[in-house]
């Protein structure tokens, strides 16, 4: 996979993530009108003079609207891509700044991907472009490895109590899989250890590259789809999936394993 192919594919995937997230923000606009984001205190917390203006409904909907337009622009207007990605990056981090509640790992991964894509698109074929893509890859490896190592350090995860416990909550669970895992504790143990091994082994798979990396990324897609179906965390599929083309490029061309 070439750098251009990797950045284009990654851009499409992260655009879906940011576009979906923004559409969901518009669909749940009551969050800004009378919901948790409408708090008068929030403006005081974020402190900036612009906060009171940006956070006031319906002005609060401007950022998701801008993000949808900019991501569409980045996908549809290749000549203006760096400008669109740069503007989207500013809009995205502004949203995280002005509405700092309920943030998740996919928000930060989206920031990282937009930053890497901006460098790769603005300075193609240079050291800066490779540094940007290498940075995204390194953050993805750090994300998976840290998550796996933190789980390996946890008695709950090692004993097979974590996935069954999470899937039996109403916030991150689902009634049927939760009940199934309660009835089959060995399956819970297997899922906990499979998660630990998949996540901690991720950087090694990137270093080894080739078919091993392809297998690992396929497992990653299934993992995120499973998390999405059972835990409702669907945006991870798109944001973490957007790192995969970049990982294939970096593993194949920069680390030299020839994918």
């Amino acid at each position: 996979m070439s750098a251009a192919q990797a950045t284009t594919l990654s851009l499409y995937l992260v655009s879906v993530a940011i576009g979906l997230d923004s559409l969901e923000a518009l669909a749940a606009r009551d969050n800004y009108r009378v919901g948790i984001y409408s708090s008068d205190i929030l403006a005081g917390v974020t402190g900036l003079p612009a906060a009171r203006l940006v956070q006031r409904y319906p002005a609060a909907l401007a950022i998701p609207l801008m993000l949808i337009a900019l991501m569409l622009g980045a996908v549809l207007l290749p000549d203006a891509r760096p400008e669109m990605i740069g503007a989207a990056l500013i809009a995205h981090v502004s949203r995280l700044r002005y509405f700092p509640l309920g943030l998740a790992g996919f928000d930060q991964m989206a920031t990282i991907i937009l930053g890497g894509l901006l460098l790769a698109d603005a300075f193609p074929g240079t050291l800066v472009a490779n540094a940007g893509l290498g940075f995204v890859s390194a953050e993805a490896c750090l994300a998976y490895f840290t998550s796996g190592a933190a789980k390996a350090s946890s008695a709950d995860w090692r004993a097979g109590r974590a996935v069954v416990g999470i899937l039996n909550t109403r916030a991150y669970g689902a009634r049927l899989p939760g009940r199934l895992l309660r009835a089959a504790p060995r399956l819970g143990l297997l899922l906990d250890w499979a998660t630990i091994l998949f996540e901690t082994g991720f950087p090694l798979a990137v270093l080894l590259g080739g078919p091993i990396l392809i297998v690992w990324l396929c497992v990653g897609v299934l993992f995120h789809l499973g998390v999405s179906a059972t835990m409702g965390l669907h945006l991870f599929v798109w944001t973490f999936g957007a790192t995969y083309p970049i990982l294939l490029y970096v593993s194949g061309h920069l680390i030299g394993s020839g994918v």
Partner: protein, 170 residues
């Protein structure tokens, strides 16, 4: 094309960002880094570990009319899974925001139990949100409560963690 200095500056920034990201995975460094990270640039990647999220936190409110009638508790957190959440889950972020603020409030109270909780930012954010939540037309006073429950066995094993006093909506 960037010159040598520009390239070096970009690489330096990315290396610093990556090193800060690595440092931020250690819980004792997170408050120090978080204090400077106004744009949420430095991630925490530990996802459901080391302590997995195995019990629900819920926010409930109830209203009291001017005549003194007290209504039943209403759940403000919305949970539940549907197949459409694979591609469309608009309530996810708002709900996580409420749960995160509740968790932060409980953590602050636990760290400083002798302090007045009502002056905490997280308490004020919750109170401000609860105050704006639509309710019955004749509501005069409102109260909220944070409870922990054992997921799908709700309301069995319900644990009341914080009860606000009734406050005026006038």
């Amino acid at each position: 094309v960037l010159d040598y200095g520009g390239t070096a500056a970009v690489v330096l920034v990315l290396v610093a960002w990556l090193l800060l990201s690595a440092a931020n995975q250690f819980a004792h460094l997170q408050p120090k880094i978080g204090r400077w990270d106004r744009f949420a640039l430095v991630p925490v990647w530990t996802f459901f570990a080391p302590r997995p999220f195995t019990r629900d936190l819920d926010l409930l409110v109830r209203d009291q009319s001017a005549a003194g009638d007290v209504a039943g508790w209403r759940l403000l957190t919305t949970h539940g899974r549907a197949l459409r959440h694979l591609v469309w889950h608009p309530s996810c972020r708002g709900n996580k925001a409420i749960v995160d603020v509740c968790a932060e409030l409980l953590q602050s109270i636990s760290a400083n139990p002798e302090h007045d909780a009502s002056v905490l930012v997280s308490y004020r954010v919750l109170e401000s949100y609860v105050r704006k939540t639509p309710g019955r037309r004749d509501v005069a006073l409102r109260q909220f409560v944070i409870v922990r429950s054992s997921g799908y066995s709700f309301p069995d094993g319900l644990q009341v963690l914080l009860v606000s006093p009734f406050f005026s909506l006038v």
